[in-house]
Symmetry: C2
Subunit: 162 residues, 2 copies
DNA sequence: ATATTATGGATATTAAATATCCCTATATCT
DNA sequence: AGATATAGGGATATTTAATATCCATAATAT
């Protein structure tokens, strides 16, 4: 069980968009080039973000994407779920119902205990992702990235932002 | 990203093995029949448990599996990892290194911030799974399962346990 | 001896992830 | 008005992982 690589792409792209000045847009082409990713396929990930309402897009030359909300109001879980889907990582096929000792058609009142425990773990994962915003990420990155690279990247992006 | 169905199978099988009297073994055939699963494929999941040292196996007629440890000393994470592998659910391809503004061959001191956050969420998931033992599950099941089904199942298993 | 079992290897089948291509509508610029 | 660059969506390969089956082998109980 491994998350799609599109999750990584989406997170990094959002981190870049979070640093974009108000009202500016950055294209798929620029984002793909900046991260060394296949433009066409990255486009699908960005479309997922758009459909989820996390980013706003605009057409034409100088078109592209910007965040739909301030970085402090956009958390990791939203981005992950936009790309990966909202369904839980553990699927319960209710195999306990196949137990030949159970009356046929017997209906359990509560979901399977095994599934409930697995879903609690899933929720712990989601809770952690929910607790980290793009603003938090930006703060970490600005602290860790060497100033020269940070500035060069900012300039590189601005030059291409419509 | 969805866990293999073998994870569900392994958990349910371990729950049954946890109720087995000391020294008895239950075969793949019985476990497959009890859960309505393909015997050959379930066998692979049980082999994973065996290789991880979570269960002990014995050959020949009346052979099969038993837990290698008391249910209170066997947690969900061990079972999940035995089947699903121990690798993290988020793979970092370090795409930040593709940033054209970075000096070629530049080596970061610490792993990517995005990956670290995703790994923290992964660890929260694992921590939750680590905190639940087969004994906990057994307690829940014995409380929730209707006594008649519970008893019939126990008898069904005992009749087939070598 | 015979039957039953776990184990491991080989292989087939199905589903999902990855990736590319092309067409359309829209916006910008000249 | 016309040329160009963009997102969006549909169709379709390609690759990889999950699911599943089959068979040969060694060990064990009766």
């Amino acid at each position: 069980m491994i998350l799609k690589s599109q999750v990584e792409w989406a997170l990094h792209c959002c981190a870049i968009l979070a640093g974009l000045p108000e009202g500016r847009y950055l294209s798929t082409k620029a984002l793909a080039e900046l991260h060394g990713l296949p433009k066409e396929y990255l486009s699908k990930a960005l479309q997922s973000l758009s459909q989820a309402g996390l980013v706003h897009s605009t057409l034409g030359p100088s078109g592209g994407y910007r965040l739909a909300r301030p970085p402090a109001e956009l958390n990791f879980l939203e981005i992950v779920e936009a790309v990966e889907g909202k369904s839980r990582t553990f699927v319960c096929d209710n195999i306990r119902a196949n137990n030949p000792c159970r009356p046929k058609g017997y209906c359990d009142s509560s979901p399977c205990a095994v599934a409930r425990i697995m879903w609690e773990a899933d929720e712990a994962w989601r809770q952690k992702l929910r607790s980290v915003t793009l603003a938090d990420l930006g703060e970490i990155l600005s602290r860790e990235t060497p100033p020269a690279i940070w500035k060069d990247t900012f300039d590189w992006v601005l030059k291409r932002a419509g």
